[in-house]
Amino acid sequence: MPDEINVPDYNIPPELEGTIAITTLDRIYNWGRRYSVWPMFFGLACCAIEMIATAGARFDLARFGMEIMRPSPRQCDLMIVSGTVTKKMIPQVVRLYNQMPEPKYVLSMGACACGGGPFKRGYNVISGVDKYIPVDVYVPGCPPTPQALLFGLMKIQEKIDKQSIKEVSWYQKEEDPGIPVPILGPDLIDPRDFPELMARINKEDQA
């Protein structure tokens, strides 16, 4: 019997197989969560306009329980990184991410947020927000149409469906240390890069 409960009628994507056991409690838990994902009201660039259009009358996020766009990270579950992330902006993006309470999801919307997009080689552009914060769903396109974004949001819901209360990170013992906030120096500096950078600078000084 327990086996049957554990057999979900969801298709589990190959990369998530083996990590998941879905029980009835999980279903209730996830059902509650999947229809109340509150995105952050946080627009970066052109894609943000399509995000607003998605919240508008024609596409209507409210049908997914997502209409409540909160400007404060403290009340959000989902960060839609909608547009080009620049070096000047990434400290704020990381900080906002750190301020969001668990469970949190990140959807990277548009070519720019996924991988730099048309501006990838620019001197002030981050080629992919996933270099700094973990991303759950990527929605390519420049800009993704509202329907493409909705498809991405449904992917988030699918992902929520597959999580198990036993294993989710936010009920584990260890505390999440957060992501170190990048620093604006002569160029953007990621604190995780300090050792390499120091080595390089020292080498240069000696030379």
Binding site: F59, R63, G128, P144, A148, G152, K155
Partner: protein, 202 residues
């Protein structure tokens, strides 16, 4: 009178509420989940509820719509023969420089062939501008209509290789019937002209 402006404004919202129900009653069942219903909501005199219930209903994309590019192949006896001749024009016009092509080489003679060995498009860079499709002289690269590309892992899904890019000509004919017909016609004319030119020499 103080307050009149507010009341007038509320009248507008009230009318919108009224329209919502009035339209629903007038149009009946066929307003939702039918093709005509969706179309009606796109016309210039639409009233009432405007929402298209994706994913059950979808807005039909127009023929000109462009999302990421794909390569057209002709089906010749079950073999996929791409139309692409590896001329490299698309990779030269591409504004975000997201196309990489390697030309195939004949294994024996070492001569370059008129077909790509590899073809990559990084859709994390592509700006959906449509230049590649516009300037391709062989109608080999076209813009797709499929926008449902969201995924969990970009490293695996967002660099499209040749295999992923190739789609049959029939698919192209399906999404862009007008252009397909036009191109076929132009090709036929070209053929005819060439044939006419060849004959006198014989």
């Amino acid at each position: 009178m103080k307050g009149f402006g507010i009341i007038k404004g509320l009248g507008v919202t009230l009318k919108h509420i009224y329209d919502t129900y009035a339209e629903d009653i007038k149009a009946g069942r066929k307003r939702y989940y039918t093709k005509e219903g969706v179309l009606q909501r796109r016309t210039t005199d639409t009233k009432g509820i405007f929402t298209v219930n994706y994913p059950e209903e979808r807005l039909a994309v127009p023929e000109n719509f462009r999302f990421v590019p794909f390569l057209v192949y002709e089906d010749e006896d079950g073999e996929k023969v791409p139309r692409c001749t590896a001329c490299g024009i698309c990779s030269k016009v591409c504004p975000s420089q997201c196309i990489w092509i390697t030309r195939a080489v004949d294994q024996e003679t070492g001569k370059p062939l008129k077909t790509p060995a590899e073809f990559y498009i990084d859709i994390d860079l592509c700006m959906n501008c449509g230049y590649c499709a516009e300037h391709c002289p062989f109608d080999a690269i076209k813009m797709d209509h499929d926008y449902e590309l969201a995924n969990y892992d970009r490293t695996q899904n967002n660099i499209h290789d040749k295999e992923r890019l190739l789609k049959p000509a029939s698919y192209y004919a399906e999404i862009r019937p007008g252009y397909y017909a036009m191109e076929q016609k132009a090709k036929a004319e070209e053929e005819a002209k060439r044939a006419a030119r060849r004959r006198p020499r014989e």
